[in-house]
């Protein structure tokens, strides 16, 4: 390739092409003009969004479905500050993303120039790494380093701030592929002793549980997880993010664990004698109270990030490395005890405390989500927003394949679900994509209806409309004497008309008896996006629930009859 005749932006775009980038999700502006201009001649497809936050969540949805970094391009100042939420969302969930920001020319940095924002400083705690590029000749190296950092080890977002003179200046460098990141090491291979120490404890366990986290999906270890569960005959629980890493229809699956996890998953955690986390970071949605967590269990931990070992739980044995490689080395060392009595015990938990809901008294979100599950034969890619509908979707949409469940876990970002579905549908044009969103969160990024409509993406947007910020309302009902403050969504639009205003097909459900037929019709429509407005009962709560900061023993399985004490943990 001849690099000599190009400007910084053209070099940047050719690097993206060489790195296999198919799509850039972006929003234009003055400081990014050279880059948008370079994209004009490129084979890379530009998806123009309606807000920079939408671009980040689309890139995120693209990345979570493909495992490849999603690329975002925005302008300086407000364009750049609008990506911070999406960067945090990707950071908290270890999603690879490259965020390219236009910036004022280097000579104006620090001069309060028009649309100057110190996005290098602003984004630092929300990204895995970031760059402010000051020389055109550094552009290719920085791009290659950024992709390497974003994609490897524990993935994450990398932001690159690109002053306008850097992208419009002439490139006369001789980048030969050498990266200059001597401080960056990825521990793929565990030590042999570490793997042996896991095996020793696993071989003694009589009541083991596997806690599967997002790391298992990132390392594509789902086959190894299945082999391990079957070899150990051990029940499997997953975190919210790891849904699909182990088939939820498998007899050993206990579904999601934690704050709104199944009662049987939580009971298994309480009663097990060993729990092994495979790429989960024992976070506070699972482990509200580390002092009382799985009190009688040996704790084993597999993670590629050394800083996760001992951060919350002090493990009895651990291996630092890529989950897939660790499991491959671990499997031959296993000679497990007979666990059938334990599996029977867990099956009794399941029989005694099944996941259920009251079907009487108006249309229930759970029924609507279950109908979506049936209509899509459990085979769709499901994205969610954040709130009650997210937890119901986690409970009632069972995932049996990896990379088919996209939800903002660590950051809990409202507004994520719908744009993430756009990114997922772009990445997987032949799959069915369902966005399960709340009436609150959908309104944060619904401007992307244009984006979905223009590209005729056949996304099913399921708006679970309870006319409340339901999850917050639930907490106010249970812990604050029904003092509803700042949760009423009065003034919601007519979602059907709203969709139609964008030229999008829309359906409406408000009766239990119509759910299945409407869902069938909506799911048969594939010419473009369609919106299903489900008006569900206003006041319903997600159970089981473990109050924030409490231990799993304090799980509330169904509606309490007395007022509950305000939890101490982070809500």
């Amino acid at each position: 390739m001849s690099l000599t005749t190009k400007n910084g932006a053209a070099i940047l775009v050719s690097c993206l092409e060489q790195l296999g980038v198919e799509y850039v999700f972006g929003y234009s502006g003055g400081a990014a003009l050279p880059i948008f201009d370079a994209l004009y001649d490129s084979s890379i497809k530009l998806i123009l969004t309606r807000h920079e936050q939408g671009a980040t969540h689309m890139a995120d949805g693209y990345a979570r479905t493909t495992g490849k970094a999603g690329v975002v391009l925005v302008t300086s100042g407000p364009g750049a500050t609008n990506v911070i939420t999406g960067a945090l969302t990707a950071m908290m969930d270890s999603v690879p993303m490259i965020i390219l920001c236009g910036q004022v020319p280097t000579g104006l940095l620090g001069m309060d120039a028009f649309q100057e924002a110190d996005v290098f400083g602003l984004s630092m705690p929300a990204v895995k790494h970031n760059y402010l590029v000051k020389k055109t000749n550094d552009v290719p190296r920085v791009i290659y380093e950024a992709f390497h950092i974003a994609n490897s080890g524990r993935p994450g977002p990398v932001l690159i701030d690109l002053p306008k003179d850097v992208t419009s200046g002439k490139y006369d460098g001789d980048f030969n592929g050498t990266l200059e990141i001597p401080g960056y090491h990825v521990p793929h291979q565990p030590t042999t002793d570490a793997v042996k120490s896991l095996a020793t404890l696993l071989n003694k366990a009589r009541k083991p549980v596997l806690l599967v986290g997002h790391g298992a999906l990132i390392s594509k270890a789902h086959k190894e997880v299945l082999a391990l569960a079957e070899k150990l005959n051990a029940p499997v629980v997953t975190t919210l993010l790891a849904k699909g890493a182990f088939p939820e229809t498998h007899p050993l699956s206990l579904g999601m664990v934690g704050m709104y996890g199944t009662a049987y998953a939580n009971k298994a955690m309480i009663n097990c004698d060993l729990v092994m986390s495979i790429g989960s970071r024992w976070d506070d949605r699972i482990n509200g109270n580390p002092k009382k967590f799985c009190p009688n269990a040996k704790k084993l931990h597999i993670d590629i990030d050394p800083a996760e070992i001992g951060k919350i739980v002090t493990p009895d044995a651990y291996a630092i490395g890529d989950a897939k490689i660790v499991l491959q080395q671990l499997l031959p060392l296993l000679a497990p005890e007979n666990t059938s009595a334990w599996v029977k015990e867990v099956e009794d938990f399941k029989a005694n405390h099944p996941l259920t809901y009251y079907k009487e008294g108006g249309l229930k979100a759970q029924q609507v989500i279950h109908a979506a599950y049936t209509a899509s034969k459990g085979n769709a890619i499901v994205t969610t927003d954040v709130g009650q509908h997210q937890m119901w979707a986690a409970q009632f949409y069972l995932n049996s394949r990896p990379d088919t469940w996209l939800s903002s876990g660590g950051a809990g970002t409202m507004g994520f679900g719908f744009p993430a579905a756009i990114g997922a549908q772009i990445a997987r044009p032949n799959e069915m994509v369902i966005a399960v969103v709340g009436d609150g969160g959908f309104q944060m990024t619904l401007s992307e209806l244009s984006t979905a409509a223009i590209h005729k993406l056949p996304i099913k947007i399921l708006v679970v409309d309870n006319k409340y910020l339901g999850m917050v309302r639930q907490w106010q009902e249970l812990f604050l004497d029904n003092r509803y403050s700042g949760v009423d969504m009065v003034g919601n639009p007519d979602f059907v008309k709203l969709a139609e205003a964008y030229g999008i097909k829309a359906f409406h459900i408000d009766k239990a008896e119509n759910v299945d037929s409407v869902m069938q019709q909506a799911f048969a429509y594939n010419e473009g996006p369609c919106l299903i407005h489900a008006e569900v009962i206003k006041e319903d709560n997600v159970y089981p629930m473990v109050p924030a900061g409490a231990c799993l023993e304090e799980m509330v399985i169904c509606a309490p009859t007395e007022k509950m004490a305000m939890p101490e943990g982070s809500t």
Partner: protein, 94 residues
């Protein structure tokens, strides 16, 4: 329990790296009592940061791991030599 700790951090002296270190410490409630930076005498082009810190003992290991995770940090270690945190030495080496 809180005690004073001494850290030595070898790093690539690009702009931003002092803020990155400070952010890791601030977030976990650590206070910087002194900070000295000087370039290494070898050809590496790296610099070394010496910090005297105060914060909860229990968080120290986690903090060292989070610092080591920063991309431009080459090495994090306990600074055992007393002179490591004396500014005069630092100036002398520059």
């Amino acid at each position: 329990m809180e005690h004073t700790k001494k850290l030595s951090i070898k790093f690539i002296n690009k702009s931003g790296n002092i803020i990155r270190v400070a952010l890791v410490l601030e977030r976990r409630g650590y206070n910087i009592k002194s900070l000295n930076i000087y370039p290494l005498n070898d050809d590496s082009g790296y610099s070394e940061m010496f910090l005297e810190l105060r914060g909860e003992d229990a968080k120290f290991d986690q903090i060292k791991k989070q610092l080591a995770k920063l991309i431009d940090i080459i090495e994090v270690k306990d600074a055992i030599r007393a002179e490591d945190v004396v500014p005069v030495v630092a100036y002398a080496r520059v």
